[in-house]
């Protein structure tokens, strides 16, 4: 007697919204055929706070505080993107010292953000120790931020027209001390995780994004560069004084999870270089442009400013109707764009690789939903 043929069925699995590895509150609806994923539908909106609508009520200066909370791992980058757009509307000239300070803070914040990625990606793959190492160094960075801005996470430091206040006494030396301490740590991270055979096995073979599909889906930041596209706003459309600093743009080859991971590790090195150069170029001077009022009323018009945030090309589109608050603020959030590619990327992958792929894209839900 031949056994009856096995009946198979498709299975629908909910990943999230409460899942330790979705980095916040993302839900992905997965349709499985055995172990293989047939369909993946990201469901967002679990952190939709209505920031863009609120921007129409808050004043121009208050919006800096809200911008901290888009991508909370990289608050300085958000501050800067918003301020660049607003400064274009107001035609404010930012003093040179403030420009360097902005670059220093943004790059330090990029390091802090990539350290969070490094730690949490390790946890996703099953390595807990890197998390502790990453947060040890990150705490030192946060001490630097705290001594200058007073906050650990939401700095509100970069303001329209410059920065909130000058560095405290002795800060550049503390910062250099930290960088000296930090550089050998990068080596340690490589031994700990980057070239760990188990880690390589789990990340080298999955989640390939080809150059074309990365461009088609509008992916940006390290995710795009890992696919071999040398695109970085800091080089393509330099803001602040980035044209003066000498740094490389690391690119990957195949666009697999490991490439995306390693691109970020290399970026940390470049950020360290930028901070060193910017600190060297710091000259005395004012840190705030003259004549920026407490209550701003820019002339009617539109402006767009974008920066290379830790997760990609972060743009802010502002429309002013001459009032004390913007008529409309739109955020081009890199995480939102990067997330879309999951629909294509996850299909055909195995269930056990989903977390590795999701982790390597490095999304922040605050920015996806806003």
């Amino acid at each position: 007697m031949t056994p009856a043929p096995l009946r198979t069925d498709q299975l629908f699995v909910n990943l999230g919204p409460q899942h330790p590895s979705t980095h916040g509150v993302l839900r992905v609806g997965l349709t499985l055929e055995g172990e293989v994923i047939m369909r993946a539908e990201p469901d967002i909106g679990y952190l939709h706070r209505g920031t863009e609508k609120l921007s129409e009520i808050r004043g121009w200066n208050q919006l800096v505080a809200l911008s901290d909370r888009w991508d909370y791992c990289n608050a300085m980058g958000n501050n800067l993107a918003y301020c660049l757009a607003a400064e274009k509307l107001l035609t404010v000239e930012v003093p040179e010292r403030a420009q360097h300070l902005r670059a220093v803070m943004c790059e330090l914040n990029r390091i802090a953000s990539h350290l969070i990625f490094f730690g949490t990606f390790g946890i996703d793959i099953g390595a807990f120790t890197p998390f502790l190492h990453a947060f040890r160094e990150r705490e030192m960075l946060l001490d630097l931020f705290e001594s200058c801005t007073g906050a650990r996470l939401t700095y509100n430091y970069i303001r329209i027209g410059g920065v909130m206040r000058d560095l405290p006494k002795g800060w550049p030396d503390l910062c250099r001390e930290f960088l000296e301490f930090f550089k050998p740590r990068l080596q340690e991270y490589d031994t700990l995780l980057s070239f760990n055979p188990i880690f390589l096995d789990r990340t080298k073979t999955v989640g390939h994004i080809s150059r074309e599909s990365a461009l088609n889906w509008g992916v940006s930041g390290p995710n795009l560069r890992a696919s071999g596209v040398k695109a970085d706003v800091r080089k393509l459309d330099p803001y602040c004084l980035y044209a003066k600093y000498d740094f490389e743009i690391p690119v990957g080859k195949t666009g697999c999870c490991w490439d995306r991971y390693y691109c970020r590790m290399l970026e940390i090195k470049e950020s360290v270089r930028i901070v060193e150069q910017a600190l060297g170029l710091l000259a005395d001077g004012p840190v705030m442009a003259k004549g920026v009022a407490k209550i701003l009323k820019p002339a009617p018009g539109e402006s767009y400013g974008h920066v290379e945030a830790a997760r990609g090309d972060l743009g802010v589109h502002l429309i002013s109707d001459g009032n004390t608050a913007p008529y409309r603020l739109h955020v081009r959030a890199p995480s939102f764009m990067n997330l879309q590619i999951l629909q294509e990327l996850l299909v055909g992958q195995r269930m056990s690789d989903v977390i590795a792929i999701l982790g390597s894209i490095d999304i922040v839900l605050g920015e996806v939903d806003r």
Partner: protein, 182 residues
């Protein structure tokens, strides 16, 4: 264990000297509960990053017996770390009900206390206490990890005062039925 503890007051209450036994077991049970508060790994927004920092190297909550668990079914403490928006309200209630009793809720940050910087937003629940009962509120935007640790120490004081005779640990049940989140 839970069943034994549930039955204990009924059994001891009728015996001579039962009150003394109950008081003694209170001490033991509270001592154990207080030193192993296991929170769910559940972050909502910015405050979750500070929560992670509290679990990590410098602040190291492990030394207080605080050890994050990925599943609500293994946890005692639900830390609401971040903005509760209306779409997330229903899942949060569900997670709360998935936790075994006794369970506690700690609201971390201004957003989950009262709406925080989003107090006038159309999509935000103005305080998580509108949907689930809260034991400890920690203020700040975001609160520092020290503040979270202080909040948990306060929670431990609260746990110390629980008594089996008064149905220890059963947090006030919320009524079911249609809910409004604004």
């Amino acid at each position: 264990m839970g069943i034994v503890l549930d039955k204990l007051p009924g059994v001891c209450g009728v015996l001579p000297g039962g009150a003394g036994v109950l008081a003694a077991s209170d001490e033991v049970v509270n001592w154990a509960r207080k030193r192993s508060v296991w929170p769910v790994t559940f972050g909502l927004a910015c405050c979750a990053i500070e929560m992670m920092a509290a679990y990590a190297a410098r602040f190291d909550t492990d030394r207080l017996g605080i050890f994050p668990r990925p599943s609500p079914r293994q946890a005692d403490l639900l830390i609401i770390a971040g903005t509760v928006v209306k779409k997330m309200a229903e899942p949060i209630v569900q997670i709360f009900h998935q936790m075994p009793e006794p369970r506690w809720v700690l609201s971390l940050g201004s957003c989950s206390n009262c709406g925080g910087p989003y107090y006038d937003s159309y999509s935000v629940v103005k305080g998580v206490d509108k949907i689930i009962p809260v034991d400890v509120y920690v203020a700040g935007c975001p609160p520092r990890p020290e503040a979270l640790i202080y909040g948990i120490l306060e929670l431990q004081k609260k746990i110390e005062k629980m008594s089996l005779a008064r149905g220890a640990g059963a947090t006030a049940q919320i009524e079911t039925g249609p809910r409004r989140y604004d």
